[in-house]
Symmetry: C2
Subunit: 476 residues, 2 copies
């Protein structure tokens, strides 16, 4: 592996390779992740373009050395950890907008572009990439995990916004999955295959993204309910009403307590009900939103709502939504020193969401640990975050049991163990329960045919085949 790094240094120059221990540590472990490995890359390499990535892949192929792609480092499932060591490829310098085609409503970017920066830089065109994951996320990681966020209810997930990908394959060849039309039925959909593959099939070096038109106007409403059941029933009515909401989010009573007490100043201005609460985003024309707001009032009324806030101006809109947007940050800010946060997500058919949230809350309540729930109700997707002391074996086992129960429950309800965070190293065991041996077998056939030596991000999504001689370093 060290020889691989040396060859890369010779090919790209010494500035492109780092052996710095702090750098290696930062790329090998994340406090935000629920899953980490004890393995570390031998070096971090910093390519500047597709050709350099291709050179790196060719050298790694020569020595059959693992290649692990790294974006913003915000994965919570260990997608960028290095259980088999190898070379970590950091895309931080590949942060250019390659071409912006406003008339075609698309943009070509490198993987290191941050999505918030992208939307800022094209703001004047009236176009945007309508996804909404963590503000730190980079397009490359968003592609690799098929990410989404609060806007998925209206705009779908990453796979719906990628028109084509330039990919460096395991042997260093460079391919483009498709050309640039918005609609395509020519040949197999390789684009959607690489989206969500977590870098196990190739390294994505250029992405053409479809863009949406920024709505003329937006607004926000927040409604609390006496129980999760009432909130869920109201949510179903809202979804089926034909009002095209921009987002429909849920926060439980614990999360509402947290923002009341520890939110930012803007958020604490509002005296929130500490009850199960729905956050609604409106998007459309100004006239249309007025009509939608009136309708929402009528729809939620039978479900015994508590306080109802409708934003009366842009400031109120920002302040109300900030409560949702800051939720994770607020939770993290009150985490006791030395504690970790286990945050995971599952998705179920939407009619089962209230039930699985209630059961999961009961389960985590039994642990006596601090736990809260945030849900993308419109998609049947939710996150539970539990704070625990990772040095306390009882805590650790309890949380692990809780998360596994939650995944098993999701599967019983015909749901998935991962709605938007992907599999990484943390959820491999359960993936087979979800999909079965034959379906996983097909996926492995694809992996094997794209990357016969299994050097692309090894140990993610699935374990290496039994015949492999590579040795993983234990999971932390």
């Amino acid at each position: 592996m060290k020889r691989t790094a040396k060859d890369i240094e010779d090919a790209l120059g010494p500035q492109a390779v780092s052996y710095d221990q702090d750098e290696i540590e930062r790329h090998g472990h994340s406090d935000w992740s629920t899953s980490n490995s004890k393995g570390r890359p031998v070096a971090i390499v910093y390519p500047r373009n597709t050709e350099e990535v291709s050179t790196i892949a060719k050298i790694c192929d020569r020595y059959k050395c693992p290649i692990v792609p790294f974006g913003a480092g915000s994965s919570v499932e260990g997608s960028f950890s290095s259980p088999y060591g190898g070379i970590c490829v950091d895309f931080v310098h590949m942060d250019k907008i390659v071409a912006f085609h406003p008339d075609d409503m698309d943009v070509v970017v490198q993987p290191g572009v941050n999505w918030v920066d992208l939307n800022k830089s094209i703001e004047e065109s009236g176009l945007f990439l309508p996804l909404d994951p963590s503000p730190t996320a980079m397009i490359g990681g968003m592609v690799s995990t098929n990410c989404s966020g609060t806007n998925a209810f209206r705009y779908g997930t990453m796979k719906d916004w990628v028109l084509n990908l330039t990919v460096v394959l395991a042997d260093g060849r460079v391919i483009k999955t498709r050309k640039r039309p918005r609609k395509n039925s020519a040949g197999y959909n390789l684009t959607s295959l690489f989206v969500g593959a977590e870098g196990t099939l190739g390294l994505v070096t250029e992405i053409t993204l479809k863009l949406a038109v920024v709505p003329e106007d937006t607004s926000v409403a927040v409604v609390s309910f006496p129980t999760i059941g009432e909130a869920a029933k109201a949510a179903t009515k809202l979804i089926r009403s034909g009002i095209q909401l921009g987002a429909l989010e849920f926060m439980d009573e614990v999360q509402m307590q947290v923002i009341n007490r520890h939110g930012s100043e803007a958020v604490r201005k509002t005296a929130w009900d500490e009850c199960p609460t729905l956050f609604l985003k409106f998007a459309g024309t100004t006239e249309g939103i007025k009509a939608d707001v009136a309708k929402v009032k009528r729809i939620v009324d039978p479900f015994k709502p508590g306080k109802i806030f409708f934003a009366r101006n842009k400031q109120e809109e920002a302040d109300l939504w900030a409560a949702r947007k800051e939720a994770l940050w607020t939770m993290t800010s009150i985490k006791p020193d030395g504690y970790a946060m286990w945050s995971t997500d599952v998705a179920v058919p939407i009619s089962r969401l209230a039930e699985i949230i209630a059961q999961s809350k009961e389960d985590s309540g039994d642990l006596g640990l601090f736990a809260s729930v945030i849900g993308h109700v419109g998609d049947g997707n939710f996150h539970q975050a539990v704070m625990y002391d990772p040095k306390n074996t009882q805590h650790k086992e309890g949380v692990s049991r809780c998360v596994h129960n939650m995944m098993n429950r999701a599967l019983e309800m015909e749901g998935t163990i991962s709605g938007e965070h992907a599999i990484g190293i943390g959820k491999k065991d359960c993936l087979e329960d979800e999909l079965g041996v034959d379906t996983i077998g097909l996926m492995k056939n694809i992996k094997q045919s794209f990357d016969p030596a299994w050097i692309m991000n090894p140990g993610k999504v699935f374990d290496l085949p039994p015949k492999s001689t590579a040795k993983a370093v234990d999971v932390e």
Copy 2:
């Protein structure tokens, strides 16, 4: 191959297999298709469920006999033709709605369900499958071609509405690609891989479809323009305005002449301008549509519009849209006896649409044949239909040259040779020009690993590998 058919007869009973020559002819050739093969299946088999399809595949695998799936038979690219003979699997009896989950907004269907029938049968729920291909199309074929139609501008294509697929593989094993949540990032996206694979990777026997909420209200407007250029400029402004149109369609002056003279009675009630014309569908709340209509008037005004029709009631809405909906049928009704119609589609980045339409019209004009253009402007996708005498070599060569020019032009503009009709046997040659050898190579790797004997719908999408001993019967 006959032994294969006999074994299937023994396994499923004589009623499941037909050797009738008329049946075989109907399954082997289509007047609607621009591409046909001289090959014919040896028998047509009619399975009733996934298990029977699995039995058929196992028997075909035993003898390495080709399997060709057949849905509504409306492919225009020869997707269901049998250049290598073999067994044709007709899904006509697999026409059941397996499960409807209104609370989850999804439905599980067999491949032989017609999409219009599906939407009628779930009408009361206020939900629908928001695609709009040929009214004859069945869900199975829609999956296999990644179809779309006029609603794609708002709702996307088939791949965006399939949650999971049950697939019978080449060796008869049955897999399910995913479970039933609306959002998923667990493992590779096999669902999107089978969508658009034209039955070359497996036989789809069950489909779970996401459903959309029927909009509260809809309406229609039709606006004519002096030139294609003005129509295209107006279309771009409309797309970027933030009005969420349900559809944005284009018909050229030839097509408008045809509907004026040969349209149905309802369509001929309107005195259409015989000019390039945009058809707009509105969808939303009643109040929202009123505001949208007012906006459209302001937006199109600078582009020298001719007649503008806004539907004032539901009857007018139906009559106006009928002109678009009946376009293909009206064209076919005036086709001289013995003439054929070459109808094909390409898609380009939307800013290039006016240019490619104008060039393609000039090209077909030079032939002296009757040709018209219909376009899904909002997607940069259009269809050109040319009438010709297939016995006239000059006609045939001219049309073929025209279509190839159109595809090459689309590729030069970073477009695709197929926006929604797929590849079949008709466009294989050009697919390599679009994607390049390495990208096609990856697709063939997948094909090879899923179907090592290349018996699933052989000769579609790509040619068989050189080492194959199978012999194709010539293209007609």
